[in-house]
Every structure is written in C-alpha cells, then in structure tokens.
Symmetry: C2
Subunit: 272 residues, 2 copies
C-alpha cells in the first residue's frame, strides 16, 4: 500500500469546485483560536481557491485580506472573480462566506514565480535566531492556553528565548517576536502556505505587555519565492501603536537564506 503523503495542510485547505468560480471548503476545528478560526488559515483556504481560478498563475504575489467577521469551524464557500488576466499576472477578487455572512474579502495578484527574473538585490538581514535546540518549543505552553488555542497544535514552533518573556510575565517591550516554524507533520509548505505563516505567531503586542485579543482589520502578504523545504524563520515586529491600532510586520525566511514573504497587518490595539 502506498504511504499517505497528503499533508495536514493540504487536507485542511482542500477545496472543491462548485461552478461559476465558487469553491466549497470546510474550515477545520483544529485552527480555532479563542472565539474564531485563525485568520491566516482562512486566508490560505481563499488563496488556494484563487490559485484554482487562474491555473496558469499558481503563486500569490500579493494578497490583501479584509476581515469582516470571525470565521467558525465548518462549511464555507469561496467565491472568486477574475478581474484581469494578462500574460504575466492575474488579479482576482474573492470572498469567503459562511451561511450567507462574509468572513473575509480579498484582492490578490497571482503569477508564476518560477518564470520571474531571478535577479536578487536585498539589503534585508536574516533574523538572528538561536539554533533550534536553544529555542523554546510552543509545546511548553500551559495546558489552559493550548485548550483555547488548538491552532498551536498545527505547528512545531521554537521561540527565540529573547522574545518570549511575555510567556512568563516579563515582556521585553521591544515589540518583537520571532520563531522557527514548521508544520506539525513535517510536510513542507508551498507558496500559498506562506499566507498562513504570516499570521501564525501570537500577536506582537504580547511583547509590549499588552496581552489580549488583537483583531486583524487587514493583512497584506507579498510572496517573493517558493519556499525551500525545511524550517522557516518567522519574525514579527511592530513600530507604531497609535490611533487605537498597530501594524505588525512579518518576514519569512527559508532554509536557502531567502526572504520568501513579507507581510504587514493592521490590527486593533488590545483593550487594557
């Protein structure tokens, strides 16, 4: 018998075409965090539907998601509408709904990263993360935390000890959290999977001593390369908490030393 090589990520983001650019999906309860479903996972499901709507452009280059209401585990429909498809890129509008209520509205431009110029000129610096064995596994989180955030069981996360003070009541105040990440089943992620990785870590406001729910208004992800297999390094920072909001900048680096994704989200400041 052939071994089962379907990853948990592929299973949880499976979609089936229902005609007219609509795709059916089922949001898995394993991605629950607090009162809803992880926004990065929901975006991954939408991202997969968009890829299916423009088969010649398999990779997200830029995806912007506006979060309208909390998603719940269970059936969902993704409706896609191709706004323009040219030779190099295609732009698509998409919405994910549940029982007639829109959860997120998305605009995205997809292309084929393998066909883009290979020229790289970066001044960005790889996150300085201690070796895996010196980092703090997410599995050490208290049982109570893990019960309200089953999403933590989707990943193998290893936090930089310098950025994990918030877990023991000593946040650094720098607005910085970084970690090694791979999926719990060890399967590598594709380019669409990076949409989820950009929203996988706890809110960076934890490191500012502001715990609590920080609802995302908007998340934009730019994908710049298909990630190499293996551990990803994920870094989140915020520089400006103002107007009741804060931005969270994320970088994802792969084992080949490439900055494979950059994202920024705008979230509501947690209530004191």
């Amino acid at each position: 018998m052939a071994p089962d090589v379907t990853s948990e990520w592929d299973t949880h983001t499976a979609i089936s075409p229902a005609g007219d650019g609509v795709f059916d999906a089922v949001l898995d309860p394993g991605w629950v965090v607090g009162g809803g479903v992880n926004g990065g996972y929901v975006l991954g499901v939408v991202g997969r539907a968009i890829a299916a709507s423009v088969p010649a452009k398999p990779h997200p280059l830029s995806v912007s998601a506006y979060y309208l209401s909390a998603s719940r585990p269970g059936p969902a429909q993704v409706s896609t509408r191709v706004l323009r498809e040219g030779g190099t890129v295609a732009t698509v509008a998409a919405e994910l709904g549940q029982e007639g209520t829109t959860r997120i509205s998305v605009l995205a431009t997809y292309g084929d990263l393998r066909a883009m110029p290979s020229d790289v000129a970066t001044t960005a610096v790889e996150p300085a993360l201690p070796p895996l064995e010196e980092c703090v596994p997410g599995s050490l989180a208290p049982e109570e935390t893990r019960r309200i955030a089953p999403v933590m069981d989707r990943f193998d996360l290893r936090f930089d000890p310098a950025c994990i003070g918030w877990a023991t009541g000593r946040p650094s105040g720098n607005g910085h959290i970084q970690a090694w990440l791979r999926m719990v089943d060890g399967h590598p992620l594709d380019a669409v999977g990076l949409l989820m990785v950009c929203d996988a870590l706890p809110p960076v406001t934890f490191d500012l001593g502001r715990p609590g729910w920080a609802p995302t208004l908007e998340l934009t992800v730019h994908v710049r390369a298909v990630p190499a297999p293996g551990w990803l390094r994920v870094s989140h920072r915020t520089r400006n908490l103002a107007g009741g909001l804060f931005e969270e900048d994320c970088e994802v680096w792969d084992t080949a030393g490439r900055l494979v994704a950059q994202s920024r989200q705008l979230a509501m400041q947690p209530r004191p």
Copy 2:
C-alpha cells in the same frame, strides 16, 4: 467677495454622486506621469468616494489598491459597495473605471480617527531630513523630465541631497529616497490626501541605479492620524528586490512629529 479657498487637491478629487453608490469624477491631466495618471492621485479620488459612501466614518484606516490598467485623464466612475458597517469601522469595496475598463480595484476600512484611543507607543524614528533650505527643490528637475511628468508641478518637493544622487547619475545604492512635501498651493491635506502622498515620490529603485517605469501591482496605506497642517516628511525605502518585484515602504510624518501614515507597495522591477 470671499476669497477662493478651494484647494487644487479638493478640485482635482471632486466627485458627484450618481446614485447606487456610484460617483462621477474627472481625472485631471495635471497628474499625468509618463503614459498614465499617478496611481496615488487615482487612489485619492477613490478614497474620497469611499468616504462619501460611509459618512460617519470619514477617515481611511487601511486602503489596499490593486492596479489593473493605466488611468487616463478624463471622466471616470467610482462604484462603491459597503461590505460591512459596524459601530467603529466600515469596510468598503470600490472600483474606478473609465469607458467600461476597470483601472483599480480597492478594499478599504474607514473609521473616525478622532474617536480612536489617543494612546501612542512608537519605536519608529522620524526621518533625519536636513532643513528645507538645504534640500533640493523638485522644481530644479530638467525641463524634459517635467514635460513627461506634469505631476511634479502638483507638489513643492524638497529632496534630501543625500538621496538625490540618481538625478545626476550617482545613485547611492541604498534604496532610499526622502523629501519634504507640501501641495503647490500650500493648502494642507486631509487624511484621504495621505493616500496620494504615499505614491508621490519617484520610484525608490532610482536610488538603486535602476531608472525606468516601475508599475505598481498593489499599494496598501495605513493612516494613523489626521495630519497637522504644514510640510510633511516622506520617506521611501526598499529592502528586497527579488522575484522580478520590489517592495516600497513609505512613511509620512507631520509637523507635530507623528507617523501619520505607513504604506507598502509591490511593484514590477524596472527592465534594465
């Protein structure tokens, strides 16, 4: 007779309701740059229509624009659709079209910045710009440049001399351009005006020695405060040119020393 206090910006972004969430506009030829109309200006026109569609939420908090085709001077229609309006924020989808062709598609969340918490915790640092009188006026640009870019006449721009080497064939290679900016008529800009400011400077790739047209795929602007009247400081940086694309991060600071807007765009790398 009362003096005319209507600013050029207000005149150029004027919209008139045409019913069912549609607004008529006229794109002014004064914003032409090369073969099209400046994308920030077009976004400003859309931003004004969105504000009109949700009158209790006058300020853009987050606006994401996907550019589909080059806009031309002349009539345009903006269609808006309110996706959700709650007590604090409203999310709206909008498209600007000309003669049946969509130019840009936009998702946005608006609110009232005056009603948001005044708490500020920023680690962002104000751009180190020399005093106005030590900076290089945009009006010194060669006649030929100004002829293909009438948009330059909309602003009083004063470039940091350390970031203007590209104008004389000596780009710094740092991927950084910054300048003082105000409108040519001296009128202050409102929060919607910041959408345009984030796309007003020349592409930051000029400073990498890569001149040429860099078409924007996507631009997201976060507005965090209504700007104080007076000169704005605008800083553009890129850190990662890869996959045929580059990101351009912009910050806008006001005279009150506040980071009033942050933006990131993804653009196609100019052809060598």
